[in-house]
Symmetry: C2
Subunit: 385 residues, 2 copies
Amino acid sequence: MSLQFKIEATCGNARGGRLFTPHGEIETPIFMPVGTLASVKGVPQDILEELGAQIILGNTYHLYLRPGIDTMRRMGGLHRFMSWRRAILTDSGGFQVFSLNELRKVNEEGVTFRSHLDGSSHFFSPESSMEAQIGIGADIIMAFDECTEFPADRARMKSSMEMTARWAARSKKYFEDHKHEVPWDSSQHSAVSSRPTQLPATFHDQTQSLFGIVQGGMDPELRKESAERTIEVGFPGYAIGGLSVGEPRDLTRDVIESTLEHLPADKPRYVMGVGTPQEIVEYANLGVDMMDCVLPTRAARHGLLFTSEGKVSIKQARYAQDAGPLDPNCGCRVCQRYSRAYLRHLYASNEVLAQVLNTIHNLSFYLDTMRRVRHSIRLGEEFSF
Amino acid sequence: MSLQFKIEATCGNARGGRLFTPHGEIETPIFMPVGTLASVKGVPQDILEELGAQIILGNTYHLYLRPGIDTMRRMGGLHRFMSWRRAILTDSGGFQVFSLNELRKVNEEGVTFRSHLDGSSHFFSPESSMEAQIGIGADIIMAFDECTEFPADRARMKSSMEMTARWAARSKKYFEDHKHEVPWDSSQHSAVSSRPTQLPATFHDQTQSLFGIVQGGMDPELRKESAERTIEVGFPGYAIGGLSVGEPRDLTRDVIESTLEHLPADKPRYVMGVGTPQEIVEYANLGVDMMDCVLPTRAARHGLLFTSEGKVSIKQARYAQDAGPLDPNCGCRVCQRYSRAYLRHLYASNEVLAQVLNTIHNLSFYLDTMRRVRHSIRLGEEFSF
């Protein structure tokens, strides 16, 4: 098994653990910032490192369109391409095909969709998603699934879940047959200039890990069946997908809680696409080990900032002459240096630095929050806001 | 005199000196990055410090419109507002009124213009420009001048130059009467929260310096007369304005060279709004001490990068799989970490990080270039590309 996972402490249902990837250890529970197009929008990689990001997420759909899998492969994979030395996870592309393509056509073989950039036609299947994800070369990659829409009736949820289960088996088969093709090998390394993106050579005996995804809509019975069928295929980690698709927040929580009961305790559990600071704490306390969400980065671009004193909409005129820091309890480089008045001015003036600084702060808040959750688990105390 | 200037070495006409401002020393010849709206677009202040920027430029016209002089004053001036501890220079607003307002009306009293943001009507005079620049509180501020358009006939150049001379006297009078109103005093400091923008308290006995501006179009005789009349008013430093307004590059150089002869050798000489890397080296070798230009920052936003091997248009497809650094001879954090392929991808994908990284590199190249020029002067060798 390429992926080791050790649970080192528990507190209630929460688990404090450690995941050993080819590009470094990850302390869990972990929040993964989203770097859609080989960039966490607006934030240089050294600042991400300084913020303590241990793993970031790339989107296969977007990377497949730009710069393309051929470029990824020739550049030695996404780590080298973007000069990110730590761990990366990619999604399968299924969610973006679902959310960005109203004209997609799904059949047993896969999904035909049109590029949101130029309307060109493309096809994703379990096999082509694996091929793309192996070319990108993330440490953890995801089975190709169908994200069931919400609302959906039981028959639709069931047939969709069953197709996801069949696609999980196909994903695993293709991955096992082709995982040696990951573009990490040393010949690739010397073929390209080594200067801008030097990486440790410690991962030559390791490879990627493929996680399965549980679907089943909002139905606890179908979720249970999906979990069982995915476990039967067998993966080193399991994700709960198909959430954050418009359902009420209580339902999200219920589905997570009931599905977790059916997942193996000794494997990492990943909930995809959640959530607010309160939600990621809540889900970690339920026993979730990994989460990702565009919320901190996307909200930052809209001037919505998360602080220890609640949400701040920095565009408001009330901050125009507020000389205090954004969050007096935050140690990030933004709160240590700049005032609310300055951040408000940057946002109101449409300055690019607004996005840069707002994103740094929001990520700092999320990563700090998860650091506190991990610390509390080790102390045996449940963390809450 | 608040502003000391020491020439420590010369090489031909070039001078290596040191300018002592209330917010620190500046080694000359110096290039000043432009931070139009209280931000060098896309670059956090700590990275500007790391790049070795010793002084940056703010635009009075833009700051007057956003966030406004009242906010500037209440926040303790631009240094505190943007948390920039080093020196700042502001222009007078005259050039932006000239370049952004086709409907401006100029008379002896001043200029009526419309905001490019909302069309609202405003008025700048020598007195109101000084009032705004004292409120902003830059270390070096500029007399209110009329930037003569190009081409212009001799009568127009002469009458415009003469009005600039009268405005220089009015600027100086207002400044001398009001310079104690700069918002740096300690009561202001304690009135606002001191945490995000702590500044050294060393400047309480110092104040701003006002520079005069030489105009006169492209006519050497009028430039000479303008220099004499500006010197007669008396300033601690002199700028050559009215260039980079569409004239050929040879003419720019000729006007600079001939005008420099008429400026006092013991005072800093500032050429406004120039130039390419080759030009700033050339002008430093002519004896210019200070320059500013939007070129490195604006070009960066359009993917045009300056390197030791010439200009690179990073958008070109030829760089899509180029794993080498942007400039193999550059030590900046961008060239040390990222490949041309990655920078090309960021630009082609319209990622904000493209602007951030491109701007950091271009500023690094400009600031490094001037560092080399200063070093060469001290070695007694003329620097050239």
